[in-house]
Symmetry: D2
Subunit: 312 residues, 4 copies
Amino acid sequence: METVHQLEIKPGMSIDALVKGLGHCGFGARRLAEAVDIYEKMLSGNFTKFLTLSGAMVPAGMRNIVSELIRNGYVDVLVITGANLVHDIIESFGCHCLGSSESDDAGLRAKGISRIYDVFLRDEDFVAFEELMQKILPEGSETLSGRELMSHIGRQIDDEKSILRTAYEMKVPVFCPALPDSMIGLQAWMFSQTKRLSVDAFADIKEIVDICYESEKSGIVIVGGGVPKNFALQSMLVTPKSFDLAIQLTTDTPENGGLSGATLSEAISWGKISEKASYVTVYGDATITLPMMVAATMERLEKSKTASDNQG
Amino acid sequence: METVHQLEIKPGMSIDALVKGLGHCGFGARRLAEAVDIYEKMLSGNFTKFLTLSGAMVPAGMRNIVSELIRNGYVDVLVITGANLVHDIIESFGCHCLGSSESDDAGLRAKGISRIYDVFLRDEDFVAFEELMQKILPEGSETLSGRELMSHIGRQIDDEKSILRTAYEMKVPVFCPALPDSMIGLQAWMFSQTKRLSVDAFADIKEIVDICYESEKSGIVIVGGGVPKNFALQSMLVTPKSFDLAIQLTTDTPENGGLSGATLSEAISWGKISEKASYVTVYGDATITLPMMVAATMERLEKSKTASDNQG
Amino acid sequence: METVHQLEIKPGMSIDALVKGLGHCGFGARRLAEAVDIYEKMLSGNFTKFLTLSGAMVPAGMRNIVSELIRNGYVDVLVITGANLVHDIIESFGCHCLGSSESDDAGLRAKGISRIYDVFLRDEDFVAFEELMQKILPEGSETLSGRELMSHIGRQIDDEKSILRTAYEMKVPVFCPALPDSMIGLQAWMFSQTKRLSVDAFADIKEIVDICYESEKSGIVIVGGGVPKNFALQSMLVTPKSFDLAIQLTTDTPENGGLSGATLSEAISWGKISEKASYVTVYGDATITLPMMVAATMERLEKSKTASDNQG
Amino acid sequence: METVHQLEIKPGMSIDALVKGLGHCGFGARRLAEAVDIYEKMLSGNFTKFLTLSGAMVPAGMRNIVSELIRNGYVDVLVITGANLVHDIIESFGCHCLGSSESDDAGLRAKGISRIYDVFLRDEDFVAFEELMQKILPEGSETLSGRELMSHIGRQIDDEKSILRTAYEMKVPVFCPALPDSMIGLQAWMFSQTKRLSVDAFADIKEIVDICYESEKSGIVIVGGGVPKNFALQSMLVTPKSFDLAIQLTTDTPENGGLSGATLSEAISWGKISEKASYVTVYGDATITLPMMVAATMERLEKSKTASDNQG
């Protein structure tokens, strides 16, 4: 048996040096280190890379991590909640503010501020969002898939840090399986009252299932569970394939029986994840664990690159 | 200040007697008692009653509670995950089994068993589900809303305990905003490969927003957060109305910033819930708190009915 | 495989009828039902019955459940936090109040109110507690065990609902392994500045280990983890015995690695619980699950008694 | 209002650079950054520095972080669980092993392995621990405080990385308020069966209360709640002082009403923490958040030192 190495902190140590130390510890520390090992493998190898995102990650400041991953070719398929896309679009012209989770909510309402835990959003940004959407939503007689609609919108977001814009530029498909459940859905419906806009509820399924079919090897990073997790896993389920690598960052725990906290092992019983897969769940707030995981992995990839450049 | 009354347990006491006792206690006990008070008010008064359901409630045995509530007129709008509907349909001809949460998942896979925490489901029931869906999905040139599709399916489920069937019979609209994210969605897509079936992604929005507009007073019971919670709240958001009564049963907590655990107070800042509303969140497993809440409320309603019958 | 029976709610059904229904469900519902089965077995059979209590159970209104269990002979050993005993003593002359968890804490301080989540306590009750303690703490040259000190105090509490008083009357030993970590400890220390009071830090260990040694069969109910859980389990550990029945009601989950959320299975690896034991953990707020478990079990025991009385 | 700055990850960025970025985000990210700000202030200023430690931090690999903090003068008072001290002593001659949280616990028992979530410990190390304790426990007619006993033991641990040894060398008092609830307690009791060893249960109270009284300004880092949290806070409570800075790293949440998850704001109502205090709770696994917080703070202190050295 390998022994626990008591962690040593050195002032100025790098993030990956810290993570490597966590790998010889127990509990969440080791799981985070395992996640970095799996993510390094995923990003270095020939895997079709899925990223699913739920929870208010964009309002909480995780937008650029996601768009940078896309820009660097580290995401092949993005499955995301509508809310994160709404806030991605708002960030392209407006902003979120640092507020307090212990606010007088009726007072905020009176001031035109909506609260997402400790992040505030002003009504005027929602109004601007609505105006923008009515301007950029596509009119046409063709019935679109949700993925096509996302691509149309992304093309017209004028912000290179935008998730939707970057995905458009990098030709990364964006799936939002609960699109009606978002202000994009609301705006699309309002738009369609006076103009032609038709979106087929099921067309996305074909596109993502095709990607699953064609993946030789695949890996998935699941941030926060929810519909994006299930949609990606069920798409793999209907193919003979299964995920070879899987990382889950979640605050839910298995005991409640819900999918968001379900173990990745449970997904093996369904055939969604391969029984030979490397997988790990890191329990905890993804606004901490996602930056840690990405920063450590990027540090490793940079080092490999430098090493191979030097040998070149 | 009112004092804490130490709870007294009497052997054979009724569920509502216990709940009334909990109302003089602290922590979760008091919140559960408040939920019953609010639910009694909601079911006794002239409220448009929303129920949102996420988490694997049907596999866990909560199906008949929901269908009975619908049959008794205690639900006016149901917003639900596709997974719960899939399992509702499976229950109409097949079954879920009591398994173990500590199973060998690769072994289960080999035996054709899918695991949902400690509940098992056999592949043969999924196969039968697929066959049934291909038989009952509606063919037609008309573009349907998701709600209409649910109604079509419900009409053909031959089981009076079915949520979908009961909702069909009672003319209760069923909204499933993440329909593609379920095996109903997968089957509908497969069906549409060879037959005409067209579902408009956004049509449900109009229907539920109209209901919100027309509600004089409204109440909502949120089981488990997720897309159903958000869809119901956002529909109210776009009207001048807001929920007057709200109950949330969830295992998520606010600190993670996600919507599933967000306080109902947060929804006041958005204008989704009225600042004058009565509301409470009961933290804990809904397979315990939902039956308790419903049983205590039904006991109260039955007593009121008997009392008023006796006076008649 | 046994099937999930969808739960049926009947208005006016008894608590145990509801629990029996939960036993055919999944997730927390089934675990609660298993807890009742195990508890019925424990209370009906010839088991040495341990109860450990942590978390602010007395402020939250669970005091009389505990003292009634003791009075009815359903507790042979009580292991408890000092805080619960402090609040038990306060209840004998004062009270706790129903407050709000979202209070202005600086404002409360100014008013002389201390907050325990949504329960309030007035400074004057603490002052009265201190005066009472200085009056009833025993003076003497003999060195006491903690258990003996608890017995001395219990004898002088003039309230038959008091946990300490009832334990004294019923000769049930009360162990408080972190006694210095409570206001009883503080008061005892102040008392000992001017009078003779000497308590041996380790004397309790012998007493509880002896009980463990002499138990033919034993069962344990663990409410909330913490020091009481560990102290009871470690006492069994040093004997050749182990617990035959174990129930844990906790809000902690295993993933954090702490003892409070550790599975009971983990305790088997230590030899604290028998590998042949029946055991279950119910995750959730004990102010809901403890009353449910006790009420359902009492209902069963009453029915058995009535049945056997009728046959007599 | 300050805006959320979307976080930027740079490969090779330092830990503190990452943490500074998190400070402009929402949710747990911002709380972690606030914790670092408060910790920097605490370690740079003239504060009496309390550290409380519960949860299986030593088995999980956090031992050297704690002993280094002590050696560097960053801890003035340590309040800790007995279990962490037991494992600290075991690490001085033996080891903990990386195991799996999904083990066959009866099988482990048969092999003489005890499990702490995903960390294993061999019986032989416990046997060696017992032998060591019987050798180094102090015999004498004087009644000791718990703190004195800890100092005696620490003096005889031959490992400069040991928490107990380092505290002894640095003259940092170690308080273990639930000492009987640990294998040190068990061994001390066994020792006292044949030799003279007398520990006064309440003597520690005087020592820690005196420290609180004499603190001009004070700060506290609370890892994991439990008895150590309460003991430190209640000691401050009985003085006219209160903590000026407070950081809490915990997996518990407030909703359950227990002290471990109680907000630091709640402690203001008791007068344990000053209403003018800077304080923050970081929710999550301390095996991740503690290393992050310490590493970022050490990086800052090192930079300040280098800067002031350069100016000197």
